[in-house]
Amino acid sequence: MRDAPIFHFNDERESIVEEVASRVVGAARDPLLLLNDAAYNEIKRLEAHPGNERAEYQRFRELARTVGRMSDADRVARLDELSRRYARDVAGNFDPRVFSLSTKVLPRALTMLLAPKDFSLAEEGSRLLQKHLITQGPMDTLRALAKRGTLVFVPTHSSNLDSVVFGFALEREGLPPVSYGAGKNLFTNPMLSYFMQNLGAYKVDRRIRHELYKEVLKTYSAVLIERGYHSLFFPGGTRCRSNVVEERLKLGLMGTGVEAFTRSLRRKRPQRVFFVPATINYLLTLEASTLIEDYLAETGRNRYIIEDDESTQIDRIVTLLRKLSRTSGSIVIRFGQPMDPFTNRVTADGRSLDARGRTVDPASYVMRDGEYVLDDARDAQYTRELGEAICRSYARETVALPTSLVAAATFAKLRDMYPGADLFSLLRHRDEVFVPADELSRRVADVTAKARALEDTDRLVLAPGVRHARPEELIDESVRAWSGYHTRPVLTRTDGGFMIGETNLVLYYQNRLAVSGIGFHPARKGH
């Protein structure tokens, strides 16, 4: 694992920045337009929130004033300077010392958060996380492929804990560390920032909206992949608000896979690229309340930088981890079958197989008239198809945890109580609906039976223990998990049954099973 390229990142950083800038400038068809667009967007942004970036604001004002009169050479020079600056800002750091330290320290740090007064527990940190976190999937294949090309992990995204938990899972499974883009706002969180900063995270400033910056980001990712840096993208874009497993992906960054592969062929140093879909499944989601409210308020699009959710509150993280520590297997990461950028399945020895199981040369897909050709329109279509294949993998590899199953049964009760009611009317019935215990058990049994049938046909996965658990056990486990973490109770045990409390959260947790058809799908017609 120590031979992974990321261990030499710091030596290569300058040359990466150099390559990114020169590629961005080389590909710029209209420097004037790019500079004007950058100046316009930055002035607009900085005018609204100047903060301590006054100098930056002045610089862009100056650029806007003078760019029209500049010579072509001057424009290219400014573009080069700006690209270089952005690339340097994006480029992260990888400190092998922090890495080896953190793989030991991270579990301890988490444990100390769990039980700050009991240092003896810290010794058991690793073992505790081992217990909470279950990883499943073709690990041997992934370990073998890590030596044959660049792994690009593309998991579902529901929490700011994702990258930390995912990074831990990779390390534990003997998979190499990855480089990944993380919102710059996360770097202000002291808890996450330290580890991310030194573990190959690069900074994505989502406030910057102009083309040039997007080009720098995309090129940066392509250069890393081409140089063999194993990477991690959350192709859903931001954390999923509704908790419905991603059905559409943002393709921008994923498209860098095929580009990197093609460029490596053209340079006659082929670098294979393997996409690895994965689902990250939580018994409890750290930010559930904020996310679902954001979804329901339909402000998801505008508020994609939430600065004030649960992940910025250390006490919430601590409560969550304590909760999770009481249940084994409360986080399940499931890796899907790896595929090449053209959706072909890949074997451990790096062969691409078509749908009929024939070996096919991946290089042939970017060949035209006997040459390896870069073609944006073609690659956009390959990437669309890749996105669809990844979403199909997500649906198959979604892990049904007790909280989702019990929430699906509970939500079905709500819908039966108010037939024909629209989603928002349903959600208003907080603390009004009582479910007798035997009825809830029966409903949970129904839902679980459906989930079992789906698992039997490879369309869903049941969390360990769920298949043979009695409905009452699933209900107990869910109620225990919810109560004490979520400030408003989701399901409260009363005489002879349960009161349905925070309906938004019932919706949130059942949404995880919406794509599989077990849960209600909040965005699909015909329900």
């Binding site: 959706t343 009929r356 040369d361 042939s364 035209r368 008239d369 329109a377």
Partner: protein, 310 residues
């Protein structure tokens, strides 16, 4: 550069496409199930294996009957790789699930860059070099351009679209409507009424197509309504002949025997009606067509149903 065009299928349509490519100045290699020579023209060479075809051509045009396309594609898949473009000219959707043929090709071969031909091109015109019009669809612009380069000549115009799903569904569904056209004409429906019914039919087809992911506008393009106009203007399409046989009171095998050629519509229409029903799309024209083909309605009832509201 592999400038040669591959054609899979030695039937009338395959031969017509080979002629079109030949007329556009391209070398052609043609594979046919039959051993006898399909075309006797310099520059069109018949080969007996897919490996030879795949080694010489990047663009492969598939023109075989829909019932054998899966088998043929599987064999072709052993010979081609990701560098080939496979474009089919088959009007039909496969199986109960109405799978587009391009999907079948993707399932059976390693090829990703697939496309489909559509539109009112007629085999006889292509062979004789009379002016004709075709549509080609692929989500890969390089594929549509390759087809245009391969086939377009002063006597053939090729229009291109990225809406692959649209062209495949339009070709299949409009084929069904042509049965209605033949039927209506044979029972003496006036041209105005027939035009009205068929236009409704095209609207229904566009709604069905949209539910399958197609652009509705494709149904009103060269790949869609142009087919209906060509058939009404007198192009001899087997679907129209089947409709005429139905109008004469022939059903099932008897009707098929009169046409003398395989037509997809009888298997396709009931599946399309089921597909629409599942998605709550009202399709009176297709429903009536299904009844007409099954022989469960007579001429007067059919006409009365189509003229009624609701």
């Amino acid at each position: 550069m592999r400038n040669t065009i591959g054609v899979v299928g030695g039937g009338r349509w395959g031969v017509a496409l080979a002629h079109a490519a030949h007329r556009a100045g391209r070398e052609v290699v043609l594979w046919s199930r039959r051993s006898e020579k399909a075309v006797a023209l310099d520059g069109i060479e018949q080969v007996d294996g897919f490996r030879t075809l795949a080694a010489r051509a990047t663009l492969v045009l598939v023109a075989v009957p829909s019932e054998v396309v899966r088998d043929v594609a599987r064999q072709l898949g052993d010979a081609i790789d990701g560098s080939h473009y496979v474009v089919h000219g088959i009007r039909g959707l496969s199986g109960e699930g109405l799978t587009p043929i391009s999907e079948v090709i993707r399932e059976e071969t390693p090829c990703r860059r697939v496309g489909a031909l559509g539109g009112p091109g007629v085999a006889d015109d292509l062979i004789a070099g009379r002016p004709g019009v075709l549509a080609v669809a692929s989500r890969f612009p390089e594929v549509t351009h390759a087809v245009r380069d391969a086939l377009e000549s002063p006597s053939l115009r090729v229009s291109i679209t990225p809406d692959l799903t649209g062209v495949e569904w339009a070709s299949a569904l409009i084929g069904c409507l042509l049965v209605a056209a033949g039927f209506g004409r044979s029972i003496g429906v006036s041209p105005g009424v027939l035009a009205g019914l068929l236009t409704r039919g095209v609207h229904e087809a566009s709604r069905i197509g949209a539910a399958a992911g197609a652009e509705a506008s494709t149904f009103f393009s060269v790949a869609g309504i142009a087919d209906v106009m060509a058939a009404l203007a007198g192009d001899e399409r087997p679907e129209v002949r089947l409709g005429a046989a139905l109008g004469d009171g022939l059903f099932g095998e008897a009707a098929r025997a009169r046409v003398g050629q395989r037509v997809e519509a009888p298997t396709l229409v009931p599946r399309v009606v089921a597909f629409a029903k599942e998605r709550r799309i009202d399709v009176p024209v297709f429903r009536t067509l299904a009844a007409a083909m099954a022989g469960t309605m007579n001429r007067d009832e059919i006409l009365a149903t189509l003229m009624s509201r609701g």
